[in-house]
């Protein structure tokens, strides 16, 4: 398969280009408008009244309007489905809760920073938390009643001498193999859940439809993994007062002084460039951050962002900013400078 960006030839089943990392379009399996009539009755959504064929899951027959039976789980489908479709799968290397380095499942301490790995698996109250071992268990369907969400309480972290709860999600989607950021709750490509089921979103009347703040309301504890940093999910790491940038990859926060303009970029003494916020310690160089990448204007309760004609562009909520054009910035907005992802917090 040819990469549309760099032209490199990749294997036919490649999800990303070997050369430049561009996501490759997968051959799309054409979805039938209606399932063929030789399918089992319930699955094909065949209307028992008029014989009309409907897509499984359709509530009413498109021909005669009669109510339809919903599809039932198929035992054969469960047995036959490839393992690659498992959303939470095979043992993956344990990530250190302190520095994020990979470790073997049976390691007691992180080989890189020495943090205790086993300690992170229990809280003060002895409640199990989200560990890789739990994730590898058979993904049980979430119960309508509220089950304890896989969270790491900040109190427990502090008692262990850990600065903050660090992500322990896989860097690759276990379902489709796509690269995922540590803070992602779901794979961007196939949608598979990357952390344990957030049971608090499930109620019997309106099941699991919207899940901006999964576990907090029911458990009284903030989730270890925000469902979506760009949504309204709470961030558990201690944050400075006032506007600041959050680096989701490391959990670090960078205060923005104001009022006035705050220059964000990469420090370069040779060209005498000293931005107010230096992204070098946050992967700025490898991530393609320009010396003068973007600036944030801090006013009284109002904020704006402006790309400074950077080489690798500034993205706001996945929309590329036009160089030199200020755009309003709001709490929770996702900023990407080159490949470095940031989240803006107003206070």
């Amino acid at each position: 398969m040819k990469c549309p960006k760099c032209g490199n030839e990749n294997q036919s089943d490649a999800v990303f280009c070997d050369q430049c990392g561009q996501r490759l379009a997968q051959p799309v399996t054409p979805l039938p408008e209606a399932v063929s009539a030789d399918q089992p009755t319930a699955q094909a959504g065949t209307c028992t009244r008029c014989g009309g064929v409907n897509t499984p899951g359709e509530l009413f027959c498109g021909e005669c309007g009669a109510p339809l039976e919903g599809p039932a789980p198929e035992a054969a489908a469960v047995a036959a489905a490839p393992a690659v479709m498992q959303p939470v799968v095979e043992p993956v290397a344990l990530a250190c809760p302190r520095c994020g380095a990979q470790a073997e499942p049976d390691d007691a301490f992180c080989a890189k920073c020495g943090a205790a790995l086993a300690a992170a698996s229990t809280t003060e109250t002895g409640q199990p938390t989200a560990t890789v071992n739990e994730q590898t268990a058979e993904p049980a369907p979430a119960e309508p009643s509220v089950a304890p969400a896989p969270v790491l309480s900040p109190e427990a972290s502090q008692s262990l001498g850990e600065p903050e709860a660090a992500p322990s999600a896989p860097s690759e989607c276990p379902s489709c193999g796509a690269h995922v950021a540590p803070e992602d709750a779901f794979c961007d490509f196939c949608g598979a859940a990357l952390v344990g089921p957030a049971a608090a979103t499930v109620t019997s009347s309106a099941p699991a439809a919207s899940s901006a703040t999964p576990a907090k309301a029911e458990t009284g504890m903030p989730p270890a993994q925000p469902a979506d940093l760009t949504a309204t999910a709470a961030i558990t790491a201690p944050t400075p007062v006032g506007p600041h940038l959050l680096v989701p990859d490391s959990g670090a926060t960078i205060a923005l002084s104001g009022p006035g303009e705050v220059l964000v970029g990469r420090e370069d003494p040779f060209s005498n460039t000293f931005p107010d916020v230096d992204l070098t310690p946050h992967g700025g160089e490898a991530g393609g951050v320009s010396r003068r990448h973007f600036k944030i204007t801090v006013g009284e309760g109002q904020f704006a962002i402006q790309d400074l004609n950077s080489t690798n562009a500034t993205w706001l909520n996945r929309t590329r900013l036009q160089p030199g054009l200020p755009v309003a910035l709001h709490d929770g907005d996702e900023i990407r400078a080159g490949k470095v992802k940031l989240v803006f917090r107003a206070g």
Binding site: P56, F186, C190, A192, A193, A209, A212, D228, A328, A346
Partner: protein, 415 residues
């Protein structure tokens, strides 16, 4: 900081079965202005364009005069208003001006008399000119058109004017009174100008409908609302329906590899808008999956700003437990049933127009069954009556067609 407009999502079921075939789920997306802006009101630039042909004589013209006077009682002294009438010719009864500047407007309206033929384009042309003359992008610029009869020979001119109105951001709210008017023409004029069309069955209904139109326009505080759906690989949108304030097939536009955008247009301060999105899901193994993220973008003309909502995750659990997959959200079930009734009657009208009498009759009977189940006895009777008309005379009645076409759109107003 609270959002100016919120976007909420819910599914008809949170658990879907693990199957070998694609399956359908329904997502309800509701965009609603928050409390901070819901009490705001837009200023108006309204032009009434009123049919005073001979067929309007008697109660119709009397109720129309009452309706305009009452509607004008609801506008503020700063709102811009004009009144134009038409029969074979057109007259500007009151030129576009602030309410406070109008002298003896009530008397001018009371002197409107019915008589003559119907040349709608003449009235529309003059009425649009009055609104355009005082156009203000910070106001709701609208023409309220009412007619009770067919306009002869100038349909194309009416459509051209509707195009021009749309190009200049002037919406035409087109009302047809009784049963002898061209619903295809009025629907198309409304569509081209981003307005609405509606049926007024009896003269008594003109008064409340005009007042509601004025109030609704004052509440149109959000413009250019659009929902972006970011779908994960393998999830395909099938159809997108607006379900409130009225049912309509919205469609969607692809804007990326997996992204689609749905245009909502204006949002009512109190009611907002709801969408029903039909999504075809690919087969998956058991587990929790995000199938889409939804985000709302919009303009706030009163605040001279644009904004976007936070992203809402739409999540399902693929399960193997047959008991779990039989749990449905009753509100979604009810909405889907109403949309189904609307779809059936729409297809029935289309098939009747194409001469497929048998197909149209079957669809009408099916729609009647759904409407009966929904407790809409009056509409169910109308659908059955039109099915009888088709079987016996080979065609539907003009009044029955209009009733079905316009009333089934409003089924979701009684949620």
């Amino acid at each position: 900081m609270p959002e100016h407009v919120s976007l909420t999502t819910r599914l008809n079921k949170g658990y879907v079965p693990v199957t070998r075939t694609p399956q359908l789920v329904y997502a309800l997306l509701t965009a609603k202005p928050g409390e901070t802006i819901a009490r705001s009101r837009m200023a108006l630039n309204f032009g009434f364009v009123l049919d005073r042909s001979g067929s309007m004589r008697g109660e119709k013209i009397a109720r129309l005069i009452d309706a305009v006077r009452l509607a004008l009682g609801k506008v503020s002294t700063d709102d811009l208003v004009s009144v134009t009438t038409f029969n074979d010719r057109a007259d500007v009864v009151a030129a576009g001006a602030r309410m406070s500047e109008h002298r003896s407007l009530a008397d001018q309206i009371a002197r409107i008399r019915a008589g003559g033929g119907t040349q709608m384009s003449r009235g529309l042309s003059l009425g649009l000119r009055e609104v355009y003359r005082r156009f203000d992008k910070n106001r709701v610029n609208q023409v309220i058109l009412l007619t009770d009869g067919q306009t002869y020979g100038d349909e194309e001119q009416c459509l051209r004017l509707a195009n021009e109105a749309g190009d200049h951001h002037i919406a035409i709210q087109a009302f047809g009174l009784g049963s002898d008017w061209n619903e295809s023409l009025l629907d198309e004029m409304a569509r081209r100008s981003s307005g609405n069309s509606d049926l007024i069955e009896s003269p008594d209904e003109i008064v409340p409908l005009f007042s509601q139109t004025v109030e609704r326009s004052q509440r149109a505080i959000v413009r250019n609302a659009r929902v972006t759906l970011r779908l994960v690989s393998g999830v395909v949108p099938r159809q997108v329906w607006q379900v409130t304030p009225v049912i309509a097939n919205l469609g969607y536009a692809p804007i990326g590899e997996h992204d689609v955008q749905v245009e909502l247009g204006e949002l009512d301060a109190e009611q907002g808008k709801s969408l029903l999105v039909e999504l075809v899901l690919p087969p998956r193994q058991a587990g929790r999956f995000r199938i889409a993220q939804a985000q709302l973008g919009y303009d706030l003309p009163l605040e001279h700003t644009s904004d976007v909502s936070g992203r809402s995750d739409i999540v399902v659990d693929y399960v193997t437990d047959p008991a779990l997959v039989r749990t449905y959200d009753p509100i979604l079930m009810n909405i889907v049933e109403k949309v189904t009734a609307f779809k059936l009657q729409t297809r029935a009208l289309e098939e009747a127009q194409q001469g497929n009498i048998i197909g149209a009759t079957q669809k009408l009977r099916a729609a009647a069954t759904r409407l009966l189940e929904l407790g809409e006895d009056d509409l169910a009777r109308a659908a059955n009556q039109e099915a009888d008309n088709l079987e016996q005379a080979g065609q539907m009645s003009s009044g029955g067609t209009k009733k079905l076409r316009y009333q089934t759109r409003k089924l979701t107003q009684e949620l």
